[in-house]
Symmetry: C2
Subunit: 171 residues, 2 copies
DNA sequence: ATAATTGCAAAGGATTTGCACGAGT
DNA sequence: ACTCGTGCAAATCCTTTGCAATTAT
């Protein structure tokens, strides 16, 4: 009925697939394969979660410090256009990017305490939306559902919150 | 099962209620009643739909041209704090504000062609979300559901699109 | 009188863009 | 060669803020 995507490891084969798909897109569009783009997508697809531009740039700089914001933004746009990545906005004012997971579409639960973002998918929910659209003479292209709230498992939640706070101090 | 809020007229009594509620809020907080605030909320509550700051400012300026962005932004924040208005973001990069309608909570369908935004509410949808949260050991504070797509009634949709285009030329 | 509010312009943060130089095809 | 991409800084967009003058209590 419901699946939550919380795997902790990145499937190397999947990453290779994405990289290949991006190369194909670049070629199809008559664009060029560059060292910077390769670095950026390689880093991006090996990160998991909902990555902000800044987070991505930080990681990218560890590989090639000369790469700047502009190139990261531009590459991210290409990734979105190519349908390999989705842009999300969770109301904190900055865009986050998500490499498509195995699950084609999914929704999000966002813990306002610890910042955890978990993904879920439920066919009944999808069906119900379709039905409501139908009743309104409306055709859905895509949708967005976000549940904002808090983890009930306070131990786990606090742990995440603390480790995030520590990280912020460290950075 | 489902209700769509599409009324075309603003209930004057409701507006008066809102204005009174805002006055009460201002007073409770020890803030001041000013001509500018009165103008802004009076204009705002008589507009319907999902108003951007720019739209609101344009209308406000017709009443008092000396009012500027800052005051509109600040008043809008008060309206949000006072719980009389909700802030929404539909991904076009600007905030929109919505005076609470009679329906406490509702979700949105957004037509990407004509820009129509309609509201709906469905208890089964709400219940299903609760159930999914429960299964994930998660407590929902609030949620956001947006269906992006297109009107099936192409005539009405085109009409709206054209009148919007005309408006843009006129302004 | 006192504290809050206004309007302007300047500052802010996230994102985009112009341009000269550099790299892929 | 030719076109596209890069990196930088400057520009842009929406929004917030500092401040001196003004206004509500």
């Amino acid at each position: 009925m419901m699946s939550v995507n919380q795997a902790k490891e990145v499937d190397e084969n999947l990453v290779k697939e994405k990289e290949a798909a991006f190369a194909e897109y670049i070629q199809r569009k008559g664009l060029k394969t560059t060292r910077q783009r390769n670095t950026i997508i390689s880093v991006f697809f090996r990160l998991r979660g909902h990555i902000s531009v800044e987070e991505l740039l930080n990681e990218v700089k560890k590989v090639n410090p000369r790469i700047g914001y502009a190139t990261v933004y531009r590459t991210l746009h290409l990734l979105v256009e190519s349908n390999l990545v989705e842009e999300r906005r969770f109301g904190d004012g900055l865009a986050r990017y998500e490499g498509h997971s195995d699950v084609e579409h999914h929704d999000h639960m966002i813990c306002l305490e610890c910042g955890m973002i978990s993904e879920f998918f439920n066919p009944r929910l999808e069906a119900l939306q379709e039905k409501l659209a139908e009743e309104n003479n409306f055709q859905i292209y895509r949708h967005r559902l976000e549940l904002y709230g808090a983890c009930k498992d306070k131990d786990a939640c606090n742990k995440r919150k603390n480790s995030k706070a520590a990280e912020a101090r460290g950075a």
